[in-house]
Symmetry: C2
Subunit: 471 residues, 2 copies
């Protein structure tokens, strides 16, 4: 039964298989099974240096391999030290170092698969631990029998051929084939969380509801199918939705995000975090809900700092998820290419950043339709009285103390800085915002508002037209 | 905080609200809150007759209502008796009878909403109990704060305004407002499953991982979003996929079902069960997997009986989910319209059931391309030697003892009944299957096989062609 199961999970080929062997019943049973089925295997044993008998055990594993004619390699690290250095539990530190070793060895030895001996009981324990940690659907599905890409490799899969075999069947296999596994006595203690779950919680639950192990295992199976459906959907959204995608920011149409069901919004946000900050693994429910609520009703500031040094920014109808260091909004606003002034020839044009350009030309006042000019319908196309705004025109960034009399305010003046805030030009874009200057006065905050003095009147004879546009 | 929360969950209107009040802290707090906020409420109390003090408690609830000027109605049943009669646990029987009463009262009193006092602790207990029962995603999301349609009504929603309020906050509310709830002492015992979970399991889990209650509650929130996404997808598939849908069977294109991810296959199968057998609530993982595996590789018989008196049937490229009593296959097979014989005129045609028709005509043997005739490529188009099959031809259903010498068996004969079994004609379709008779002999099992004697040979001079087709 176990052999048949292994054959089903692990199709036979000539590819070398690296098997992680602690020497316990699971890994010994797996090693024995693979050797019996004549898979091309190599054994790898990691010494955690946690118990006095660890060196003896390494030697025992060497004998297990040798007696089957299988090559074996050995490694080890000071797990306690690593745990302390990285503020990890002993269990977590051991896991990280062990897998790092297994995959490094696989690479070195040219093995194409790494297999480990996790069984169905381990699976149920993992699921329960994840429930207690408050995991989402992914955690409730437990471990996978096949994982690629995984945390340690994008090319070598991690395979768990015994994941649906119960411990008692593994022990029966060991007994039948006269295998003498190593029993790790620290497993019997309840100092570690997993061991408490194994020796205390699961027996109690079995007493409440006999058969709870099998049911939890089945639950993981069913949820795994659900998780797959959701992941497929998010994968598709991830491909289709982003309007912009650079290494450090992503843009989405806000309405499209809001029209998604909550579950997909949450998964998409999680994915964005993972994309921007692959090392930030603590994307909690709270962080995701904060982002969701911010999107549902963006507050005044239109920008929020989330955890993990990720910002969320609204610009027009877009929402940006961005790393702190990303220059997000600048890509969509007109910006001066540098801080030095430049002449705006009439007729002529100046190239700004990001594909924006500012064009100036003379227009004959005679025969003009005054309506669009007076209504100033588009903020990106304005008409100036040429006598009130004599050439040369200059383009420059704002300076401290710059003032401006916006059209529509009867000649009252205000600070350019205040005007920009009122107009909700994002803070990052204000520094390099292009201003059109005539005789030292601001006559147009490009794409935004004309100066009162520059407006067309019934006395206007000559007109200059200015156009800001993006290619 | 509790009042604010109630207002959020239960928008104010003039519609009458029926509130189920046991007199415990939850329902008393809810009653007090609703009355304080001047919602138009009526109290309903159900007497379970399980404890000696039950009658006193009913009276106390009457006083709670009266002191707030709220009308109250009372009901009760012998829960123990009902549990015994229906092989239910006391808890389950009490739940069913209580909700039946609440919704019947709501109907009578013209209330538009039923509200009950479940709190966040109840929610966590429910989730844990569902985990131990081996529930799928739906169970892991726990109770909903708003359910319509629900088990008891399609028009009156069941609302739980306190579902995100923790018990300690409810007790604090009771204390602050000097409410004196009834404490049900059976809650303190651990005889019932829920009470063991409440008083034993959750404290233990809190000891393992402090804050586990909050995390389970959040988990339910997140999973609820996931569940919504999946349900939307299944809803769409349920609308789009069925090729046929009658009250007692459903047909799908088998390839379309198989191309769905496992999670959606499972949900669609569950939905089909619910559609065909709404009262069959025990659609287990095993039943669903049995149906899935049957679909993935349909065995010889091409029909399987699942639990709940549901059949799964393959016909051509379709899979049918059908109630036992449904006449599924008959709709797609050629069938005699009734049990009496009829003549098949040559040339001429006979109309069968379900849009099928059988056509006969003379063909001149001279100048015929013999190839298709000899190869008999389509089972629905055959050529007969007219001299070997003299007219009149008759159409009739099979009779006990009918024998037949199928083409390709060198004139050996067999029972028509056996032949039909070999050909895998579904049992329900055999009774009315059309046979073509000449001189008392079966010359064609329509759409299936010609008789040896009727075949075309090099000596054939006159030919009759028979065609079976569906409009």
């Amino acid at each position: 039964m176990i052999l048949g199961h292994i054959k089903q999970i692990l199709p036979k080929s000539n590819q070398k298989i690296l098997i992680g062997v602690s020497g316990g019943p699971d890994s010994l049973c797996l090693l024995d099974g693979l050797a019996r089925l004549q898979y091309p295997v190599v054994v790898a044993h990691f010494n955690h240096h946690l118990r006095p008998e660890a060196d003896d055990e390494a030697q025992r594993v060497g004998e297990m391999a040798a007696s089957r004619g299988v090559p074996a390699s050995f490694g080890g690290k000071d797990v306690k030290h690593y745990a302390h250095e990285n503020s990890l539990s002993i269990e977590e530190a051991a896991r990280i170092l062990r897998y790092q070793f297994l995959f490094a060895e696989a690479q070195t030895l040219n093995a194409k698969v790494v297999v480990v001996g996790h069984n169905a009981n381990d699976q149920v324990e993992t699921i329960l631990m994840n429930i207690l940690r408050g995991s989402g659907l992914a955690g409730l599905t437990g471990m996978s029998s096949y994982t690629l890409p995984n945390q340690w490799s994008t090319s070598i899969p991690l395979v768990r051929p015994l994941l649906s075999i119960w411990r008692e069947d593994i022990l029966a296999y060991c007994q039948k084939h006269r295998l003498t596994p190593i029993y790790d006595h620290s497993n019997a203690e309840t100092t570690y969380f997993r061991n408490r779950v194994r020796h205390e919680l699961i027996p109690l639950l079995e007493e409440y509801r006999p058969g709870v192990r099998q049911r939890l295992w089945q639950m993981a199976c069913v949820l795994d199918g659900d998780q797959e459906v959701l992941e497929q959907q998010v994968e598709k959204l991830w491909e289709d939705l982003p309007l912009e995608r650079t290494s450090n920011y992503l843009a989405f149409e806000i309405e499209k995000i809001l029209s998604l069901p909550k579950g997909l919004q949450r998964r998409l946000i999680r994915r964005a975090f993972h994309y921007l900050r692959p090392d930030f693994t603590e994307v909690s429910f709270q962080i995701i809900e904060q982002a969701r609520q911010f999107m549902a009703s963006p507050p005044q500031g239109k920008e929020a700092n989330l955890a993990g040094r990720v910002r969320i920014i609204f610009i027009g109808e877009r929402v940006y998820f961005a790393a702190w260091e990303a220059n997000v909004p600048l890509t969509i606003w007109p910006q001066m290419p540098n801080k030095t002034d430049c002449e705006l020839p009439v007729p002529g044009e100046v190239l700004l950043n990001n594909g924006w350009r500012l064009q100036a030309k003379h227009v004959d006042a005679q025969g003009m339709a005054y309506d669009p000019i007076l209504h100033n319908a588009s903020p990106c196309q304005v008409w100036l009285d040429a006598e009130e705004t004599p050439t040369p025109l200059t383009l420059r960034i704002r300076r401290p103390g710059d003032r401006f009399s916006p059209l529509g305010m009867d000649g009252q003046s205000m600070k350019v800085a205040d005007f920009m805030i009122n107009e909700k030009i994002p803070q990052q874009a204000r520094e390099r915002w292009p201003l059109v200057i005539s005789q030292g006065e601001v006559v147009w905050i490009a794409g935004c508002r004309l100066a009162h003095a520059a407006r067309i009147t019934s006395r206007t004879k000559k007109i200059i037209s200015l156009t800001l546009r993006r290619d």
